[in-house]
Symmetry: C2
Subunit: 411 residues, 2 copies
């Protein structure tokens, strides 16, 4: 019987280890592969021969359960982009030799857009050399910007964290009897899904966030100042949720931070919250604070959505069953079959329509002025944050799986 290998890549999420657990459970239940290997630091682990034997390390149901609830990548990650194999196929031939050496029947890659680029390239190269290795992508991203799938594992938990943080920040903000504006900066370079989730914080007493800005529309600073002024006539506290990636009508980022390109050619953003804080300070005489929701929006496993973890786990299992059915060059997808009650089906899509594309928030789900989201978007988001997983605590802190294999490693 053949073995299989799994790796994780891109930015962390709270649910990416649940997908890894799903792969392990899928293989164990079906018995379709012998040993489950884990490549450490994404595809780099295969290139550098840094491989764990997951069949041995995750050997009990208790460890599997703990893996589901552990944030970020148990196997580590990478931001490595394979070259075009037509220009240089040396990494490719090495990877497929490694597959052969380890008697690999399937490679599962859990990641976002850039990881799906790797799935696409390995699939194409594998087809070209006639490799029998099945190459399957399992989606994850807090950005929710992968094509074809209704939504992406990892997003629901980040959305729940954002919504609950906005609610807690609202409680924090309402206490002072002074006029104030609070800007909350949320991750999301090109897609505003996560920032839109801030709207879920609204309830019978809380109408915050009062303004929401996504990268799908152009930001006009005069309109923004005018909207804030209008709100301050009616209420003491204005809370603004803003995506890090908003830009003006000419496409320039509003961020006042540095803008440098990363390995994948993305701009690294920082500081849109600060930029808007200064904008208010310069124009309106009011207390202003900007809050950059930090990396916890992608790693606060104690605030995970039970729905999200269950879907991430099922996506991992689905990937195994796809490999069993001899499907390759594909990514697991979710299709929403009903919204009330919320039901989804797991399916797959060919990888060549997914990689290097990004799914934006539809313009018709954003109000005309571009400062709020509309009900269909809230209806879409609502089921994804439901349910609270039972978190185990030890010594007063969440009990996560030992990741010392990532810490002690030297490159």
């Amino acid at each position: 019987m053949k073995n299989c290998i799994v790796a994780q890549s891109g930015g962390p999420t709270v649910a990416i280890n649940a997908s890894l657990a799903g792969v392990i459970k899928g293989v164990t239940d079906s018995g379709c592969f012998d040993t489950i290997y884990g490549s450490v630091n994404g595809i780099l682990g295969i290139l550098d021969n840094h491989i764990l034997n997951l069949t041995e390390t995750i050997h009990s149901p208790e460890l599997l359960e703990q893996l589901i609830h552990t944030p970020a990548m148990y196997l580590g990650s990478c931001r490595f982009k394979l070259p075009n194999y037509r220009d240089d196929d040396s990494s490719y031939s090495f990877i497929f030799k490694q597959f052969e050496r380890m008697n690999i029947g399937a490679f599962f890659y859990i990641g976002g857009n850039d990881s799906m680029d790797t799935v696409l390239k390995l699939s194409e190269y594998g087809a070209q050399i006639g490799s029998p290795v099945r190459i399957i992508g399992i989606p994850k991203t807090i950005d929710n910007d992968l094509m074809v799938t209704d939504h992406t594992p990892g997003f629901g938990s980040a959305a729940k964290y954002i919504a609950s943080s906005i609610l807690e920040i609202a409680h924090d903000t309402f206490i002072y009897a002074v006029k104030s504006v609070t800007i909350v900066e949320i991750m999301g370079r090109d897609a505003g899904w996560l920032t839109a989730a801030s709207a879920l914080a609204r309830n019978e007493y809380n109408s915050a966030p009062h303004l929401i800005y996504l990268p799908e529309t152009s930001f006009d600073k005069d309109e923004f100042l005018s909207d804030v002024r209008e709100l301050l006539k009616k209420q003491d506290n204005v809370i603004v949720a803003v995506s890090e990636g908003i830009h003006d009508s000419t496409g320039n980022y509003v961020s006042c931070g540095e803008s440098i390109a990363d390995t994948f050619g993305h701009s690294q953003l920082s500081g849109v919250g600060k930029a808007m804080e200064y904008l208010i300070k310069d124009n309106i005489n009011v207390k202003v604070r900007s809050v950059e929701v930090n990396v916890l929006q992608r790693c606060a496993a104690h605030m995970a959505s039970a729905t999200d973890l269950a879907e991430a786990f099922a996506s991992g299992q689905k990937a195994v069953s796809l490999a069993e059915e001899e499907i390759t060059a594909a990514m697991v997808t979710m299709k929403r079959t009903s919204n009330q009650p919320y039901t989804i089906e797991y399916d797959y899509a060919k990888i060549n329509g997914i990689a290097n594309e990004a799914k934006s928030v539809p313009r018709e789900w954003i109000n005309e002025r571009g400062n709020d989201v509309l009900q269909p978007l809230i209806d879409y988001l609502y089921p994804l944050i439901q349910g609270e997983p039972e978190i185990q605590y030890k010594n007063g802190l969440p009990s996560y799986l030992d990741v010392s294999h990532l810490i002690t490693k030297k490159w």
Copy 2:
């Protein structure tokens, strides 16, 4: 029978409403006062006649329970400093006239150092005019810097949030196979208690934070760079926990942000994390990120310490029993009678030894080089973060008490 009035002041904590609930429970159980009034926005509510009837609004055990778990101030807060009554006693005479008008027998003020200044001044003025109103302070602050009491309600929950955040940030950081430094900036202007709590994140696999800087010692940037360089020889990822208030040997804040004085003459700090990030960038060729743990460290009620909430509640009850015993000009205190098992006793101290003093971390609980904390400090902190309260969720988010009386209010 007389009535009583309670107010909350200063910065938010996760436990300050538990103390309010304790006052309500204490009065209800003892029957020592008739109506419980709540002054909205601290002492300002008495001055501006903005008073709630808490006996009516918190009328059921369910509402009392929800109040315990609601972050920030149910009654709102203020940053108002009473003038010296020898210079101007107009506010004082108005406040005591209000007390008389409402037939008040006791005033409970839940707050930190500045609120205890108000308790002290009102106590002195009350004694001078021969007022029978008991004035009792109930401590709260995430800074843990109040004198006489072993620790302060609100601190344990913030400490638990900081420790779990550092652990989650560590998981987030360990995933990339690149050398990196992560700076985590934590609240605490003059006292390093909360930053010290980051050490509780250490466990069998995690040694982060690797460096901890408190305002109780002087920060030397050359020693810091040298320590980071040494660590990077042994490990890939260095995580640094730093208090916003650290300063160099001449007393200058390391922060690169603006430094302006607030109403109480405190310097408003921002940006020590950024300052240290730039310091590393300019001197060491390594990936650097700074994370400012935002206001959630004081309002993330979903991560409260059950021990902290229970103690905050008991402190509120104790305040009522002090008033019953005709004690005034006092603050509730906690005395640790044993560390293993952890036990405390509730007592009180005269307010004049507490107000306008601040308790620092003892120098002997910090290592000689000033870049880590020692075991006695960890032993002191450990019991305070234990236990997880049962949080009620509604529609996927923590279910907090309606605070629309704070939102709709117009000043």
